[in-house]
């Protein structure tokens, strides 16, 4: 289970946690809190090649559809099938059971350009001002 401290974050509130050749992607606890009750999730299909910053998943809450972006470029290897049955996992467990998809990063160096947890916390504080 990736902890927030072990993840990298985007300014659009996705987290990514590398493990071996692939990396797991989800939305941050802050994001799920702001989006409120998630009722639908669409994850990208395995095999899809995405670029960093590309919209590749959609989450719906309260009649609002939110685009979710790929934190890094790569090939999608798996979507979280459990979310089709229980999309509220995104709210209940954003860093564990509520992960969205896994991808194989094209260039692991792209991860270095993302925020670590402390930097993300600072980013949230600055955005709230």
């Amino acid at each position: 289970m990736p902890t927030p401290e072990s993840c990298r974050f985007t300014k659009s509130h996705e987290w990514i946690s590398p493990a071996g050749p692939s990396a797991t992607v989800g939305v941050s606890d802050h994001a799920q809190h702001e989006m409120t009750d998630v009722v639908f999730v669409e994850t990208p299909k395995p095999g899809r090649k995405v670029k960093a910053g590309e919209a590749c998943a959609v989450v719906e809450s309260v009649k609002a559809a939110f685009d979710i972006y790929a934190p890094v470029s790569g090939e999608v290897v798996e979507g979280n099938a459990a979310l089709a049955q229980d999309p509220s996992l995104v709210n209940q467990s954003p860093h564990d059971k509520g992960w969205l998809f896994r991808l194989k990063p094209a260039d692991p160096k792209e991860l270095e350009g993302l925020m670590n947890h402390a930097q993300y916390e600072e980013f949230l504080k600055a955005a709230a001002k």
Partner: protein, 239 residues
Amino acid sequence: MLGVSLKAPALDAYGQMALDEAVLESASGEPLILRFYEWEGGPRDPMRPHGATFGYFQPYEEAVRGLESRGIAVIFPVARRTTGGGLVIHDSDITFSLVFPWSRLASPMLVYKGMHRGIHLGLKGQGIASRLWTPPMPSAGPISDCFAGPSPMDLVDEGGRKFLGGALRRHKGVGLYQGSFRLEGFAASREVLKRAILDGLSLEWQTAFMPKEADADLLDTAARLRADRFATDAWNRKR
């Protein structure tokens, strides 16, 4: 903040969705872009609507069943929106969209409430009473028919009848709101109600919406999006 009231030619439901997408894709959040839909084919009635739209996650067959259950023959465009929510039948409603800045991730309920609070005030300025609906208890998830009953922060009349509902999308820090205002029960004219919507959104966003014609590039982009996505089975029947 600057605002634009975008004028565009009459379109069908696929074309309306495509034009909203073209506007959203080209927008940075400022100016705000308000558009009242013009529908192809002249005045319609509940049994012969211009078209219907349904939420991004809604199954196509569910939308069609919702229409057929009212005895409506589905001989018009039924278009999947990029926004959430449920089925909306576009007959004589005032349909409109607003593209707005949504840079900081904020609760969609707050955004939705702000839109409808503004329109409530616009209506009040025309002497028309309305209120934001709040549920007696927490709501029970998504509904398949937008006007089957009010959702939190929809606008209802004094009798509790929902007349304004909407749906949202957030894309690259810019928001799209698509709204449907039902005219039944109002003595005021369509033009007065459109004025109230415009005035209310002006108040909420502290802007004046300056009229502007949609340019050829934007309409070309919308036409391409209609043909390539919004009028295709791959999009509308994707689930």
